[in-house]
Symmetry: C2
Subunit: 279 residues, 2 copies
């Protein structure tokens, strides 16, 4: 466990460094190991990428035990901190969510993402219930002596009622409450334009996470805007599957393989991604 | 089972069509579904791609039950035939190999790849033992009433003793014996240049499989050479992970995300790859 404590502390410190933490989201062992080899100091999972890779749509249709096993598989092959996306925590009650997070910490995660939106109903959990869940998550991490990094996501920019200004007010109100409940970092899903980023960062005074998407300002501009964490979300899954689609088209239409062979890694490189990086 | 019989027959017929079967090898559900959506009439698994995705190097270090589960997961989301790579069959005896193939057929596969080389020792199984395994595989498929498509791979071009001419003689001798033992298609790993392809095709008179690699002639030329099956092997895994490596470099060095966002699929498209294609 002491190695896990050290990883958690290292992960936490990355949220308070001069440069923002760029956090790639992986979905399986080799995607995670590729990011590690590329020099990223920590890795996260993408719930959408990971769940779809195992045959489940994003959300909580995938059994919790399978999600825990997948996180354990990835964590066991990494030498850098791993943060696990637990969607809305697999539970209506704070106790159930804490139990999910406990399983994730035991699987090797040193950070979690917990969201307040429901994929199925496109609605937001009541604030009070989300606060209770975040407090329970912090308490269970403390009981395991792991200084877990809690990233609290809100889907208010999408699912809150009203016009964009009302959604933004709701997002900021929720994220402030989540920060006060023990979140280390807050994550307004959908935040991408510079003026709104500035508003959110100023209002909250704690690390704010944005996700890579078309139109997101480049890393140096996000740094100027005060962003502390930039995650890929499912972007790398989208890109990899886009490449497979184009490569398929090339083979079927032209009968050639350049998108499959150019810039590809080798068999030996692939096999090295199955196991931990040599020290 | 009748649907599986129909899939097996359809897969077999694709080896005797005027144009060669181009068979993409997937490693998880969304890679397989992407290939299906691109119009490929059948999909195979890549042992290297699949095993590494779950944290094991290529070979037989991955427990057999995990391999079977992964094949079942992919088969259950596909509407086209799936062929499973079973490496050397997970067994020293013909009976053990037949048991592996039985599990694969029950998991939904309608074809298998069985190889005669050992990843661990870089040696070839004795011909007589490989013949016994192929006969046992055919017998167990018959007992399940599934007209399984057996693709018999030899690693003689790499592991046989002697100079390239001696390796080629050994490969042809082995593949002829495997064909006579019940293989539907034969697969000389490493075969890529046109003159040698011609030699092998003429010598064997049954469907021959080649794998995509740099320098492989394009599909129309392979068709002229008499090739009946062109598989990707792990090429798509190599390409996808190569893209992740380049995208990582772009983010880390330039702070931009174009390789993650350009040509990518969307969230809704990703989620649709988790489930069977609508009829």
């Amino acid at each position: 466990m002491s190695d896990q404590v050290e990883r958690a502390e290292r992960f936490r410190a990355l949220h308070h460094a001069p440069h923002p933490l760029v956090l790639p989201n992986a979905w399986d062992v080799p995607s995670a190991r590729t990011f590690e080899d590329a020099g990223f100091p920590a890795i996260a999972t993408s719930s959408a990428g990971l769940m779809v890779s195992l045959g489940y749509p994003d959300g909580e249709e995938m059994p919790r035990r399978e999600l825990v096993r997948a996180v354990e598989r990835i964590a066991s092959r990494l030498s850098v901190p791993l943060s696990a996306d637990v969607v809305a925590g697999y539970g209506r009650t704070a106790r159930a969510v804490a139990s999910t997070v406990q399983a994730m910490v035991r699987a090797g995660a040193v950070g979690i993402n917990l969201e307040d939106g429901s994929h199925a109903t496109e609605t937001l959990a009541p604030v009070a219930s989300q606060i209770a869940k975040l407090k329970a998550v912090r308490a269970v991490a403390d009981s395991l002596s792991v200084p877990l990094v809690i990233n609290a996501r809100t889907d208010a920019l999408r699912y809150a009622p009203g016009d964009p200004a009302a959604k933004l007010r709701e997002a900021i109100a929720r994220l402030g409450a989540y920060r006060d409940a023990g979140a280390d970092c807050v994550y307004p899903m959908g935040l991408a334009d510079a003026p709104t980023i500035s508003t959110v960062v100023s209002a909250l005074g704690c690390p704010v996470n944005v996700m890579v998407r078309p139109g997101l300002p480049p890393v140096p501009e996000l740094e100027r805007l005060g962003i502390k964490r930039i995650s890929f979300g499912p972007a790398a899954s989208y890109a990899a599957l886009g490449l497979l689609r184009r490569a398929s088209e090339e083979v079927r239409v032209r009968g050639t393989y350049s998108l499959l062979t150019d810039g590809a890694i080798t068999f030996d490189e692939l096999n090295r991604l199955a196991v931990p990086r040599p020290a």
